[in-house]
Structures are given as C-alpha cells and as structure tokens.
C-alpha cells in the first residue's frame, strides 16, 4: 500500500470517527441531533449509519424553514436513526447525484440505499410516519 493510500484510509477512518462522535455528542446534549453534511462527507456518513434521514435545503427556500424544526424534533425522538442536513446550493454534487430537483426534499436511506423521499413542506405526522418505519427496520 502506498503512503498516500494509507494516509487516505487513516483520514477516512478518522472522519468516520468524528462524525460518529458528533452524533453521540449531540445525543448526550439537549440540542437537535442533526449533522450538517457536505459533498465531501455525505457518502461516508451514509456508509457509517444504517438508517439515515437527510434534509436537503437552501437559505433562499422559505418552505425549508418549515421542515427544519420538524427534523430537529424528530432527531431528538428517534436516537437510532441518524439525521443530517445538506445545503443543496453549496453541495451540488450530492444534490444532483440523488436527483434533488425541488426543495425542501427529505430523503430516507436504509443501509445506504434510498427507500423513500418527501418533497415539499408536509406536516410533522407525515415525516414521523416514515421515520418510524425506518426505525422499525433496525
């Protein structure tokens, strides 16, 4: 293995540890357990958590601000599910890869695969139903 390859693996392992610690730290605290992800760490986050809910948003998107507090609250109630947020403007690679064409879009992943998505601002019950389903698969 080359030094570069070894360094890359160490960095990736470290990043996964940090992401995991960030989630656990939030669990211990009182704030929402939602991790901000970028194009650089999105896939790693998916790989390191079995059930993931991702809220795609942008600062100019008013309905996104209706959904984000719901995601924050759900993150506090479902500690086996990992919650993340992606600014679609700043992370176009991820948004484009998952065909996020409208905002807000909330995506649900199980074992790295998309299993559901909700587009637009919907009531908390609709999102919670899906999170419950996701949690039931763990």
């Amino acid at each position: 293995m080359s030094e570069d390859e070894e360094l890359r693996r160490i960095l990736e392992r470290k990043k996964a540890e940090l992401l995991s610690q960030a989630s656990q730290g939030a669990e211990a605290g009182e704030g929402p357990r939602v991790v901000d992800l970028t194009d650089r760490d999105f896939e790693e986050f998916l790989r390191s958590h079995r059930a993931v809910v991702v809220d795609f948003w942008a600062p100019w998107c008013a309905p996104c601000f209706l959904v984000s507090p719901i995601i924050d609250e759900l993150s506090l109630r479902y500690d086996k599910v990992a919650f993340a947020r992606v600014n679609a403007d700043e992370n176009p690679v991820t948004a484009s890869k998952y065909y996020v064409l409208s905002l807000p879009t909330v995506m649900f992943f199980l074992d790295g695969e998309e299993v559901d998505r909700v587009v637009g601002a919907v009531p908390e019950e609709e999102l919670e139903e899906r999170v419950q389903w996701l949690a039931s698969k763990l």
Partner: protein
Amino acid sequence: MARVKALMLGIDGLSYKFFMKCSASTLLTLLDTVFRGVVENRDLQHPAAAWASALSGRPVRLTGFLQEVPSLPILEEVRGVLINVPLTDPTAGLVRIRMDQSTGLEAEIDSVREAALEALEEGPAIVGLTALERLKSYDVCSAYKAIDKLVRDLVNAADNFILFSPYGHPLQQGSGFDPYGVYLATVPRPKEHETVKVWEIGELLRKIINKNLS
C-alpha cells in the same frame, strides 16, 4: 389622486419555523399564495440598523437607536405613514412604544392594528411590531396566533403588501437573532435563488407604489 393602499409590515423576530408548529393559518396561507422568500441578515441585527437600511435602500450600520427619524430616501419618496417603527426608542410614528418590557404583545398589537387600519384608508403605511424581540418571555404559539390575526386584518385592508422580518427568532444564548427572517409579499423578491437583503425591502415597496401609480 387616490394614494396606494400599500402596507410594509415588519415584525422583528418573526421566523418561518413557528408557522407550522403554531398553526398560524393566515401566515401559512400567505406562504402558499403570495411571493415568498427568506430575508438573510447577519450583521444589521439592531432594529434601528435593520429598519434604517430597509428605508434607505442600502446597508446602514447602527449600534443604537436614533434620537429622531432622519431623512431616509425611500421614506421620503413613498410618503408612508410610520407606525411603531423601531428607528428610535420609543418607536417612531403614530404608535410609540418603549423598547423594553413595559408594553405587552396584545397591547402593542391593538394599538398597531387601529393605527394601521386608519392609515391604510389614506395611503401607504409602514408598520413595525417589536414584541417578539422586546419581551424576554412569552408563549411563542400564543404570540404567533395573535400576530397571525393582526396580519390577516392588515393584509385584507391593503391592496399590496410586504410582510417581512429583518431577522428571525432570538437565539437562546442571548447572542443576537437567527439570521433568517420572513419575506411574504405581493411583489416577487429580486432574485429567485437568493435570499432577500434587508436593504432591498424598501426598494420593493417603492416598486409596489410606482407600479400602482403607473
């Protein structure tokens, strides 16, 4: 010539994040039916700075209240009636409220509603509501429901309106406000895929008035 019934209603501290949680029906309906956007304001979070910027069409950096209302370009041009605008302390215009805990939300809303409805009979009204940033503690959903009713009454009385908040909800640590505020209006925001800057709001009011006069 009849003057335009245009309303610029600024509610300091109003945030989208409580619209659904508090079932604010008028605000949710407006979100679905009129032009919408997000005001982004990170460094003009003093009420006087935010409002002076909105009424000047450019960023105005202030760290305290003004002694009196200065000559502001957009204010001069639209000749709107000022009501409870926090450029000064007490607020400026037909309703004057101290920027402290001495006036409750309901009392402020009642005074503002009466003055604004009367002013809109004659022409443009520039109206502020400050309780969400002034008061240290209140039940958020009760406050949003009361504001929702005020918005319904004032929007119904106006031909055109801009409802905005120059910044969002106060942050828990007491260090300023959420930088994201509300923009709901009968005029679209300047750029579809960008946030609205607080100094662009007065220009949008001018656009409403000029459009109605032409």
